[in-house]
Amino acid sequence: MSSEKLTTPRLFKKLPTYDSSEIRAAKVYATAIVSAAEQAGKTEQVLAEFKSLIEDVLDPLPKLDAILSSALIAQDVKIQLLDKALRGKASPLLLNSLKVIAQHDRLGMLRVVAVAMVVAVERLRNRVHVLASSAVPLRPESEQRIIAEIRLRMGCEPVLEKQVNPDLIGGVVLRVGDRVFDGSVATQFKRIREQMIQRSVHEIQSRRNRFSTSEGN
């Protein structure tokens, strides 16, 4: 099930809302677009264009986003707008896909479709998205080791996204889907602290005299 999940952190962050029925619909569009693109052999190109549409156009122009999502604006106006703006710039396949989405009044969920597409493509290529956080930037050789290890254990090609988080103190935390492999020093400290408290409480309670002297009582 975890491969079904739409966990591509960077795109996810920008999802404005979370709506499970929307995600379900988005998966359908994403699958359709990806398989059409696959037949034309242009999957990577379409995906890159779609991402760029969101990151380079919709993100800096929230008003355009609002127009596309608005129910007050007629479908054919939106389609014309897309046509004018993107004809000749985007590949015909992407433009057609957008028009289909517009026809169904679903332009408000373009970001969700993009995330679903990323997941669909990753699954198709047997790739898995890995978020690697470390206290200091990873050296290339440790990066290679991580990639090799994941490839060996999970049987698929990891796509590494790197993050530097000094709070970890040391070590590395890998997140694959919903699973987290945490080898950070910070977590180790936390665990040893909990363990000490848990074990010592019992000992201190049952053998108070060992830890304290009677003087001052």
Binding site: R179, V180, Q188, H202, N217
Partner: protein
């Protein structure tokens, strides 16, 4: 007290030396929205229903709703410190509470954390909060009595060990008082008691704890509190936690009594959770599985078979009705689950009959199996319920003011005295042998000549008389738990003796009672 720093340091050092660094593998999700005691979490794809999850501040949650793309979590603790975007990790464990002798005498919250300021509960034993009820093969019929020390209950709606007897009534009719008296009455019986306070005012709970402490009942009682200010998830979980603690004793061949005060508030808390989780509302907006919530809770009360040690868990669930409406959703549900009910009525309560039990519609479906032989005798409480019911009918008829023949008048007089005898103060549980003696005396007409206002005083002195002057008689009943014809003979003559003493010493005795 001074601490030895070097000793503590050495223990900690050992911990560090022995620490085995392992990679922490966990399954995580992200909080999408949080509020009103629930959170919706994205991710956690491998989490199981009912599994514990942990929020970054250490607060625990329960996976409640598994949906296609998100998980609904109920938060057992402070939900105000949880933020959108927080990482939630699954623990792979079920919610459990500490059990065993260490929890006895303590006041704990719904998760078993002590809240009485008496230090941590030191025990390694825990039990899952939700566990399956024993099956048919693991049970045996209820047959041992559980004495509540309340005459009206022990005589007419007896409760057996392993039974579920509902206490139902409007607000302020003495429901809690019956539960507390039943607990106080277990003092020398070895029955461990658990009082689960759900959705009640903290001040009320404090009063109850104080009463239990004052009567020496906290030595064998655990109080589980999820007060009115506790979040709904804790109010929902508290009865299950209390049951887990009580079950421990049942499965160890001991006997336990649990009072749920009250399940209507738990149902309301569960309704709140379910509505927030968008589960479809049903009748009175309660979710469809509110029946199951109560049935799986109360089914855990049982009398175990001899092979399993013969332990028992008796439960006294309390339900509060509105304006005597027993046909509302939750009351009918719980009535159908339990093995009988004690129905308390405000008009009886205000007429001075306490416990304000309506004898006509209170029943115990386990009944006679849960009474000692002496109590079951037709000379004692055998026909008492029916007799009282026909007395009530006759009383209503007599109010029409018609002239009554002497026989009817005699029946009325007997009834008035019996009703008077069944009145009992709070925190004054009566030993079952004393109950038998008093009810026998009234039933055999020895009280007919005693004025109605003096019945309580007569009873008190009579019981003292038997205790002091006829100990062998009392012992004979206590040992055999039965009333043989010979015992009845000597009891009759003892009563005649007492009547003589009572009448001659009436004036000074009266003065004494006034004290």
């Amino acid at each position: 007290m001074k601490f030895k720093a070097d000793e503590i340091a050495s223990v900690l050092q050992k911990e560090i030396e022995l620490y085995d660094a392992q990679i922490d593998v966990r399954e995580v999700g992200r909080v999408l929205e949080v509020g009103d005691g629930i959170a919706r979490v994205y991710g956690l794809s491998g989490v199981m229903a009912g599994e514990m999850v942990e929020f970054p501040n250490g607060t625990i949650g329960l996976a409640f709703n598994l949906e296609e793309n998100s998980v609904g979590v109920i938060i057992l603790g402070d939900y105000l410190a949880i933020q959108e975007g927080d990482e939630v990790k699954s623990t792979g464990q079920l919610l459990s509470v500490p059990v065993g002798d260490a929890v006895i005498g303590r006041v704990v919250d719904a998760l078993g954390n002590p809240i009485d300021g008496k230090g941590p509960i030191v025990t390694s034993e825990r039990r899952p909060v939700e566990s399956n009820a024993p099956g048919i093969a693991e049970r045996q019929p209820v047959r041992e009595p559980l004495q509540t020390g309340i005459k009206a209950i022990d005589a007419m709606t007896p409760i057996g060990r392993g039974q579920r007897e509902l206490i139902i009534g409007d607000r302020k009719t003495g429901k809690t008082a019956i539960g507390i008296d039943a607990i106080i009455s277990q003092k020398n019986s070895g029955v461990k008691c658990f009082y689960v306070a759900v959705g009640q005012k903290e001040s009320t709970v404090a009063t109850v704890i104080e009463a239990l402490r004052k009567h020496g009942a906290m030595d064998y009682t655990t109080v589980i509190v999820a007060g009115a200010s506790a979040p709904a998830p804790l109010q929902y979980v508290a009865p299950y936690s209390g049951t887990a603690m009580a079950e421990y004793f049942m499965y160890n061949g001991q006997h336990a009594l649990i009072v749920y005060d009250d399940l209507s508030k738990q149902a309301v808390a569960y309704r709140q959770l379910s509505l927030l989780m968008r589960r479809p509302p049903g009748r009175e907006a309660f979710p469809g599985d509110v029946f199951y919530a109560h049935s799986r809770l109360l089914e855990r009360s049982a009398k175990l078979s001899q092979e399993l040690g013969g332990g028992s868990l008796t439960s006294l669930p309390i339900i509060e009705t509105l304006e005597g409406e027993v046909s509302a959703y939750i009351p009918t549900n719980v009535i159908s689950i339990t093995d009988g009910q004690i129905y308390l009525q405000p008009d009886l309560f205000f007429a001075g009959q306490r416990p304000a039990m309506n004898v006509g519609i209170s029943v115990s479906r386990v009944g006679g199996a849960a009474q000692i032989k002496a109590m079951k005798k037709k000379e004692v409480a055998g026909g008492l319920r029916l007799a009282l019911a026909s007395f009530r009918e006759l009383e209503a008829f007599a109010q029409l003011g018609t002239d009554l023949d002497p026989a009817t008048q005699a029946r009325l007089d007997r009834g008035y005295r019996m009703v008077e005898l069944l009145k009992q103060g709070q925190f004054a549980p009566l030993d079952v042998i004393d109950q038998v003696l008093a009810i026998y005396a009234a039933n055999q007409g020895h009280l007919d000549a005693v004025p109605r206002t003096e019945v309580a005083a007569w009873e008190k002195q009579f019981l003292t008389f038997v205790r002091d002057q006829k100990p062998e008689l009392r012992k004979a009943v206590a040992d055999s738990k039965d009333l043989s014809d010979a015992t009845m003979q000597s009891l009759n003559s003892a009563i005649v003796d007492f009547q003589r003493q009572y009448n001659s010493a009436k004036q000074p005795a009266k003065a004494k009672v006034g004290v």
